[in-house]
């Protein structure tokens, strides 16, 4: 085995190991949530995943962004077939090991080149939309700092990777044409031959070998680095989009989940012979978590809420359709998801540092204000708009439940409404005995 092969194998193994380690942490964090069964009707679930994640059906609701995204997505998925070849070549020191496929290989490499160009152009347009056209949903304050840097890094990395891929191919084909040893003739290069070969063909053979090798290493190291970047980034959505859509809610969007424990309490209030349910505290990450009414912290949300948070890529379609946000209110469904994820990451870091969960005096409510929560109309425009079926409304309702039932915090007018419902059976101060008055007039 050559030194190159040994270095490659070590790098590859380290990258896979580090990624697996971080992915396991994400999995552990998601499992901090409460249990919820989302495994019924598997046939329907496979259908949703196929349409929504694989088929990108909700992306094209906005045609420009949707089609550009499909190009990047298809490029990402298909060009990764090439990565398989790169891995084999890297381990065995071969060159274009799949060339035995003949004409089909030419077709593959040719289409990879077109896709690479497509990805390059689409990412460039995405940067233009963000920084020159300054689309509102990308210019919002909640993206200041790391989220905006994250987005820029992702787009620039993809452009750099595609550039390296095309440059590698261009150098390779000049070397192939010159009959240089190791560079056996294989592949068709419709894009790089037109764009880059006219420049590279003036280079010396040794210079071209250097360029080809540098680009090859840059491309594969870049991909391994990018893989390891995912768990630190919103870009993790490229993996979680699939399970997240599979586990979508199959219920009507405006249906709110029943709280079984409250049912037990209420039944015992209505009938004293029924015993109230005993609280069932859970042990998560080595610590006991009190059972609460509603959501104070990430432990009180379901694992699906938490998977939603990790699946969000901050595209902001939810926020751009939210009636509260459109009319200048503080609420942004995207921020709800980002705050949930950031809080979950914070909890995860504490668990990493201390080996078990220790209360840090903070919660979801440290990040999400009452003003945001009370601005929601539960209209579900956000859940409708989300390309990967994230549900911010469920989190908002559970956080409202905590405020009302555990902290007795609400808006003054809502207290009046509660009193009316409790005393008169209507949200207004009318007597129940007058319910049929309309029929008399």
């Amino acid at each position: 085995m050559s030194i190159g092969s040994i270095v490659f194998v070590l790098l590859f193994a380290a990258a896979v190991w580090w990624f697996a380690r971080n992915a396991a942490k994400v999995r552990r964090n998601i499992a901090l949530g409460r249990d919820e069964d989302r495994s019924d009707r598997p046939g329907e679930r496979w259908g949703i995943m196929t349409r929504v994640a694989l088929g990108q059906s909700k992306m094209v609701a906005r045609p420009i962004a949707g089609i550009l995204h499909i190009i990047v997505y298809a490029g990402f998925v298909i060009i990764n077939i090439e990565v398989l070849e790169i891995i084999i070549d890297g381990i065995f020191g071969t060159h274009r090991v799949f060339r035995f496929l003949g004409g089909f290989y030419d077709l593959l490499i040719g289409s990879f080149e077109w896709l690479a160009l497509g990805v390059w152009v689409a990412c460039a347009i995405f940067l233009v939309r963000r920084y020159i056209l300054k689309l509102k949903r990308f210019a919002m304050k909640e993206l200041d700092g790391w989220p905006r840097t994250d987005a820029t890094l992702i787009l620039c990395t993809e452009i750099a990777l595609m550039s390296a891929f095309l440059k590698m191919n261009a150098a390779d084909q000049v070397l192939q044409a010159r009959g240089v040893e190791h560079y056996v003739v294989a592949g068709a290069f419709p894009v790089s031959s037109a764009l880059l070969v006219p420049i590279l063909q003036h280079f010396s053979t040794s210079g071209l070998i250097l360029i080809e090798r540098c680009c090859w290493w840059f491309h594969i190291i870049g991909i391994l680095a990018f893989l390891n970047y995912l768990p630190y980034s919103k870009h993790f959505h490229i993996l979680l989009a699939f399970p997240n859509t599979w586990f979508s809610s199959l219920r009507p969007k405006t249906e709110i989940r029943n709280m079984e424990r409250v049912t037990g309490e209420v039944r015992s209030m209505l009938d004293p012979s029924v015993a109230p349910p005993a609280p069932a505290p859970r042990t998560v990450a080595g610590a006991e978590v009190t059972e609460r009414f509603g959501a104070k912290d990430v432990f009180d949300l379901t694992w699906k809420n938490l998977m939603d948070a990790y699946s969000c890529t901050e595209c902001g379609r939810c926020t751009s359709e939210c009636p509260a946000n459109l009319t200048g209110k503080l609420l942004s469904p995207r921020k709800i998801m980002m705050d949930t994820r950031d809080r979950l990451e914070e909890v995860g870091r504490t668990i990493d540092a201390k080996g078990t969960w220790e209360d840090d005096g903070k919660s979801l409510h440290s990040r999400i204000s009452e003003e945001e929560l009370w601005a929601c109309t539960t209209c579900n425009a956000c859940t409708q708009a989300c390309p990967v079926n994230i549900d911010p409304v469920g989190i908002i309702i559970d956080m409202r439940r905590y405020l009302v039932m555990e902290e007795s915090r609400t808006r003054p007018a809502l207290t009046g409404m509660f009193n009316n419902v409790e005393n008169n059976g209507a949200p207004w101060a009318f007597a129940q005995s007058e319910r049929l008055k309309w029929a008399e007039q």
Partner: protein, 262 residues
């Protein structure tokens, strides 16, 4: 106009009869002056179609929707369990309501607490009556009018019913014009999630003004609604633009009752 024929579930039970359907009037439909007109229009349609329906009258109580959406799960479940006791006590099987919030909660959220019914929104019910020929209407008086329909979130996005109200409106022979944000992309009126019962949080515009502006841009004669809360919000929005003289906000049931001269 003949007097409304309304019987309660208690009347039916006393005479040993079973109604075809229970009309769940809802709090707005019972108490709100504007929404009462919708209730009466729907009853006139039911009467004209000879539908044997009942109401709960004094035995009806808030479904608990605003309480649940405002986070008060205890109050919601108290309301729901009491209502379910009443409904199951009468052996109710089918319910129709003119409020999408009652519709959603009765249809989707009562089953988990032991109350399973076939629940219809009044636009679905009216649509069925028209299709079965139990009522007939002439669109004459609406010819040449422009109508735009505002999708209630709890009927449309919430329960995927976009067509029934439109099919009913098409019977009016008017021009049905669509807002850009309609059907699954419909913009909320601003009342959902218990907002109806509180001040809006600070912002730079009211949601109902945003929505009414969009509707008014189509220069409609009528903005059609299918929810008493949307109706209130849009009526206020139209007033905000001083257009109440030219543009009416009407429930689908009112338009049908008017067209049928019921």
């Amino acid at each position: 106009m003949s007097a409304l024929q309304v019987r309660t579930m208690a009347d039916f039970a006393a005479s040993g009869e079973v109604p075809e359907v229970l009309f769940w009037v809802g709090c707005a439909g019972s108490f709100d002056d504007r929404a009462r007109k919708i209730t009466k229009a729907f009853v006139r349609i039911l009467n004209a179609a000879n539908v044997k329906f009942a109401v709960l009258g004094q035995e009806e109580s808030c479904t608990g929707d605003p309480a649940r959406r405002a986070g008060n799960e205890f109050l919601f479940q108290m309301q729901a369990l009491n209502n379910i006791t009443v409904l199951n006590g009468y052996g109710v099987k089918r319910i129709v309501t003119a409020c999408p919030h009652c519709f959603n909660i009765l249809r989707n959220e009562y089953p988990a607490l032991g109350g399973s019914y076939e629940v219809m929104h009044h636009t679905q019910f009216i649509n069925a009556l028209l299709q079965e020929g139990r009522i007939r209407i002439e669109g004459g008086s609406f010819q040449g009018k422009r109508i735009t329909f505002h999708d209630p979130c709890y009927l449309g996005r919430g329960n995927d019913e976009y067509e029934a109200p439109r099919e009913v409106l098409l019977k009016l022979d008017a021009a049905l014009v669509e807002m850009k944000r309609s059907r699954a992309k419909g913009l909320c009126c601003g009342a959902g999630g218990a907002q109806m019962f509180k001040e809006a949080e600070p912002g730079n515009k009211e949601v109902n003004v945003e929505r009414s502006e969009e509707a008014l841009a189509l220069a409609p004669n009528i903005i059609a609604a299918g929810c008493p809360f949307c109706n209130t919000m849009l009526t206020d929005g139209v007033k905000h633009f001083n257009k109440e003289g030219e543009v009416q906000v009407k429930d689908v049931a009112e338009l049908i009752a008017e067209a049928g001269e019921l």
